[in-house]
């Protein structure tokens, strides 16, 4: 049933309310833009859902929402970020991500060309990560009711046999490993914010971490207690979350925590602590002391863990303090971020 229809004007056209109305315009947007970008056998069948084989063993599922501003930033955009963020949430369980869903809430007037850039980079990020976006949804809201585009995702993955990572599993004596430098994503976003534009070479670290995770699991699976990606609230929030869940404290070494000079300089100017700034391509792992060196070596051997470092260890502490020996020679607490540092970072 082929009917003549004007092609989507991807150069100068924009989304209007009809593209979310369930009619022909919406079908055209989905087929002409999203299917094109995500291209896979599931979407090609055109159903409201997709069927896939279920693995034996345990699966993981996650969901996430993306409202980052600006939509395009050095090192990525909301589309690649949505794929990386969802993949990473699955990967932090030690799981292999398989399938994603993507739901778009688009503001009336949003340009097709921008939507295509976003969808294309989502498709590319998914292909690179070896996952498929197999179902989705499109809604359009009136101008002013959203800010360009918001993306919601879900993801499923499959766990290796016997692996059960959880943030309540850290024990005193465990080592804390960090996969690389802190604060790149937050500073990259901030450098493009209205009122604040500054020149920096820093690009977002947005990346899918499941390859790095697989290497770590292979190297020291039984010694891995947990992994977590320090996104909003930064490393400080992540370490405090783990301390709460595992009912212990941490001792970190500021000297051991990698921060790029340009990130440190931007934080200095803006009065921020790099430990509070968001990351989108880094992970923290808590590992039994016997396996720490092996896992760290596996991290360093992977391109996304080249700058990995052991940054501290878990200690028994009823107060669950995350303490840090400062580079200067004193000690301090690494506390949760108080209030809001930067809205809409991811």
């Amino acid at each position: 049933m082929s009917m003549h229809q004007r092609r989507l004007d991807l150069k100068t056209g924009c989304v209007d309310l009809s593209h979310g109305a369930g009619g022909r315009a919406m079908a055209q947007l989905i087929a002409g833009l999203f299917h094109e970008a995500f291209g896979n056998e599931w979407l090609a069948r055109g159903n409201d859902q997709s069927a896939f084989d279920v693995a034996t063993g345990r699966m993981v599922m996650t969901t996430d929402g993306y409202v980052v501003s600006p939509l395009f930033f050095p090192g990525g955009n909301i589309g690649s970020l949505a794929v990386h963020g969802t993949v990473n949430d699955i990967a932090m369980a030690g799981a292999r991500p398989l399938y994603l869903s993507a739901s778009f809430i688009i503001e009336e007037g949003f340009r097709f060309s921008d939507l295509k850039r976003i969808a294309d980079s989502m498709g590319e990020a998914a292909r690179e990560a070896g996952v498929a976006i197999i179902t989705g949804d499109t809604k359009v809201v009136e101008r002013g009711k959203a800010d360009g585009v918001f993306i919601s995702t879900a993801g499923v993955g499959v766990l290796p046999d016997g692996l059960d990572l959880s943030a309540d599993k850290a024990r005193p004596g465990d080592r804390v490993l960090l996969s690389g430098s802190l604060g790149d994503h937050g500073v990259a976003i901030m450098s493009k914010r209205q009122n604040l534009t500054f020149d920096t070479e820093i690009v977002s670290d947005s990346a899918a971490l499941h390859g790095l995770v697989a290497a770590m699991v292979a190297a020291g699976g039984q010694g891995l207690r947990l992994m977590r990606d320090p996104t909003r609230g930064g490393l400080a929030a992540t370490m405090n979350e783990i301390a709460q869940q595992s009912n212990l404290g941490f001792r970190l070494q500021e000297d051991a925590i990698p921060v790029k000079p340009a990130v440190a300089a931007a934080c200095e100017l803006l009065g921020l602590d790099p430990l509070h700034v968001a990351n989108e391509g880094k992970l923290v792992a808590v590992v039994a002391p016997e396996q720490a060196d092996t896992v760290l070596a596996a991290m360093k051997a992977h391109p996304l863990g080249r700058d990995a470092a052991q940054i501290g260890e878990a200690v028994a502490d009823d107060h669950r303090f995350v303490q840090m020996a400062t580079s200067f020679g004193g000690g301090r607490i690494v506390d949760w971020l108080s209030g809001e540092q930067l809205p809409r970072i991811c």
């Binding site: 300089a265 020679g329 506390d335 108080s338 209030g339």
Partner: protein
Amino acid sequence: MKYADEFRDKELATGLARAIRAKADPSRAYRFMEFCGGHTHAIARYGLEDMLPDNVRMIHGPGCPVCVLPAGRIDMAIALAERPDIILCVYGDLMRVPGSRGSSLLKAKARGADIRMVYSTLDAIALAEQNPSREVVFFAIGFETTTPPTAVMIRAAEKKSLTNFSVFCNHVLTPPAMRAILDSDTPIEIDGFVGPAHVSTVIGTEPYAPFARDDRKPVVIAGFEPLDMMQAILMLIEQVNDGRHEVENQYRRAVAGGGNQRAIKEVAALFELRDQFEWRGLGSIPASALKLRSALAHLDAELRFAMAERVVADNPACECPAILRGLKKPVDCKLFGTACTPETPVGSCMVSSEGACAAHWTYGRFRDHQRRLAS
């Protein structure tokens, strides 16, 4: 990071810590107030307390402008921002400062007030140009350091003949606050002051002379880097040991004796002293704050919008007044860490990370438990 790491060097710090231990007379106590929140933050963030002997104690002063801004001024700003014709421009760290009954600019914004966070005074000018049908008000706050940028903004507004722009002025002065602490009714326990860094780049060293001469308190002006602090503490110990009480300048790389004359003149041209100004934690202090000169009345939001002065009493259980005078420590306050935390600050010292209580809560509270264990 060049020009910063040099002042955070661990080996130099270790050397200074050794010198401080050698110079500090174990038979006496040294109690020094760092006036500025910037110093308080440096002490907490770099863990300086761990590097000082037990008989050298730092008392965290009131030099954090958002901390000392009283609830009444926040209430006035909220009332103004709730008018539909107003865009209120503020620095981000003001958003969470508590007004009365749990209010804040952040909450007012959530309820619909048009409050914009700006990073520069000139952003406010740009907003006024972009919104000719709205009234743009800049919430000016800060010590002598941030008054010159407000002056630049006022000049820019005059030059552009903006008719929809005004300033809610809350600029305060350092020396009168130091005077209020020294003259308080209860005896204070301060042996010397670490003098402000950035403030002194503007006002110079001379305004501190009376504290050294008349009150016989050593003053050492210091930079905000941790090594600056360590060196200033050493210099204060030496003054105390020698029985001297002078104004010394550790921060020579930025502070000239006469200050920044151009900034001083410009501020004097545009601002005049208020008779009284309320400080959170310190009460009303005479001649301690600035307002726009009467020739600039059209730019003064308080006059332009007939803003009524509001005075809100501090919480009587809050120990900030005693903490700011060095008489008590944060842990001596029963609100500390219970009713009063950085998320729900009650007193001035908890409002920003430069306040004594917030700095101790955020960076140093583990020491309370260490002390408890040790005893």
